[in-house]
C-alpha cells in the first residue's frame, strides 16, 4: 500500500495514496497504524483525499485504529473524504463515530 506519514504538533498524519481501500490492501494500513501506535503516538489523522472507493474491510481497519487510539486516550480523525466514500460512512452510521474534517489542516487544528 502506498502511504506517506508526517508528524505535526505531535499528531501523525497518514496520507493514503491509493484509489481503493479494500480487503486487498487494508491490512497494510492496519499494520501501519499499529506501528504508529506502538511507537508511542496516540493522535492520528488518516487523510483519504486520494481514496475513491472504500469497502467494509477498509472501514473496519479505520474502526480498529479508532479503538486503538481511544484505548490510549488519543484520537483517530479523518480528513478529505470524497463524496462516495463519505456515503459509505453514512450508510454504516460510522459518520457518527468519527470526527471527519474537510482537510488534514482542519483536522490538525482540532487537536
Amino acid at each position: 500500500m502506498n502511504v506517506s506519514t508526517e508528524t505535526n504538533r505531535g499528531v501523525v498524519i497518514v496520507f493514503v495514496k491509493e484509489e481503493r481501500l479494500d480487503a486487498h490492501n487494508s491490512e497494510e494500513l492496519k499494520a501501519e497504524l499499529n506501528r504508529i501506535f506502538e511507537g508511542g503516538s496516540r493522535d492520528v489523522i488518516v487523510d483519504l483525499k486520494q481514496v475513491r472507493f472504500i469497502d467494509s474491510s477498509g472501514l473496519g481497519v479505520l474502526v480498529s485504529g479508532f479503538k486503538n487510539a481511544s484505548t490510549r486516550q488519543g484520537a483517530l480523525k479523518l480528513s478529505a473524504l470524497q463524496t462516495q466514500v463519505k456515503s459509505m460512512f453514512e450508510l454504516t452510521r460510522l459518520h457518527r463515530v468519527f470526527d471527519i474534517f474537510s482537510s488534514a489542516d482542519d483536522a490538525l487544528d482540532s487537536f
Binding site: 484509489e19 481503493r20 479494500d22 480487503a23 486487498h24 472507493f53 469497502d55 467494509s56 474491510s57 472501514l59 473496519g60 481497519v61 474502526v63 480498529s64 479508532f66 479503538k67 462516495q84 456515503s87 459509505m88 450508510l91 454504516t92 452510521r93 457518527r96 463515530v97
Partner: protein, 142 residues
C-alpha cells in the same frame, strides 16, 4: 438500455482481483439509461456490492484457499440488475447474520459486508447451487 447484458466471469479465489471486477461493474453501470447522478450512484453501488460479495466468497465461503475459484454472473436489462456470486464452500445461514452494532461503545471491526449489500439491493438470497452456494442479489433499476 437497448439490449440485455449478461456477463460470466471466473476469477481465482484471491482479493487481488477485486479492483478488476469493480472496474467491470462500473463500466456496466455506464450502460444504464438514467440520469447522470443516478448512473454515478449505481456505478458505485454496483462496485461496492460486487466487492463485498466477492470478499464474502473468497475469505469466508472459500476460506481464502487460493486454489479455489469464484464465479460471478451479472445480468442487466432495462428493469433489473441481478448479480450472482458462486462459491464452493460449505455455506452459511444468511439469516443468522445480524446488522452491525451502531453504538460507538460496542464498535466491531468486522460484520458490515452483508449489511451493506442488504442496504443497497432489493433482495438478497444465499442458497445451494452447482455443488456449492450462490449469493443472489437483485435490484430494480430506475
Amino acid at each position: 438500455m437497448k439490449h440485455d447484458i449478461s456477463l460470466d466471469i471466473t476469477i481465482p479465489n484471491q482479493t487481488r482481483y477485486l479492483s478488476m471486477i469493480g472496474r467491470i461493474g462500473e463500466s456496466m453501470a455506464k450502460e444504464i439509461d438514467c440520469t447522470e447522478d443516478d448512473r454515478e450512484s449505481l456505478a458505485y453501488q454496483l462496485t461496492i456490492v460486487l466487492t463485498e460479495a466477492l470478499v464474502n466468497a473468497i475469505k469466508h465461503a472459500n476460506h481464502a484457499d487460493p486454489n479455489k475459484e469464484v464465479h460471478i454472473r451479472i445480468n442487466m436489462n432495462d428493469k433489473e440488475l441481478a448479480i450472482r456470486v458462486y462459491d464452493s464452500g460449505c455455506g452459511f445461514d444468511l439469516n443468522s447474520i445480524s446488522s452491525p452494532c451502531f453504538d460507538a461503545c460496542a464498535l466491531e471491526d468486522t460484520g458490515r459486508g452483508i449489511f451493506i449489500i442488504r442496504s443497497l439491493m432489493d433482495s438478497v438470497e444465499y442458497k445451494r447451487a452447482n455443488g456449492g452456494n450462490v449469493l443472489e442479489m437483485k435490484k430494480q433499476l430506475p
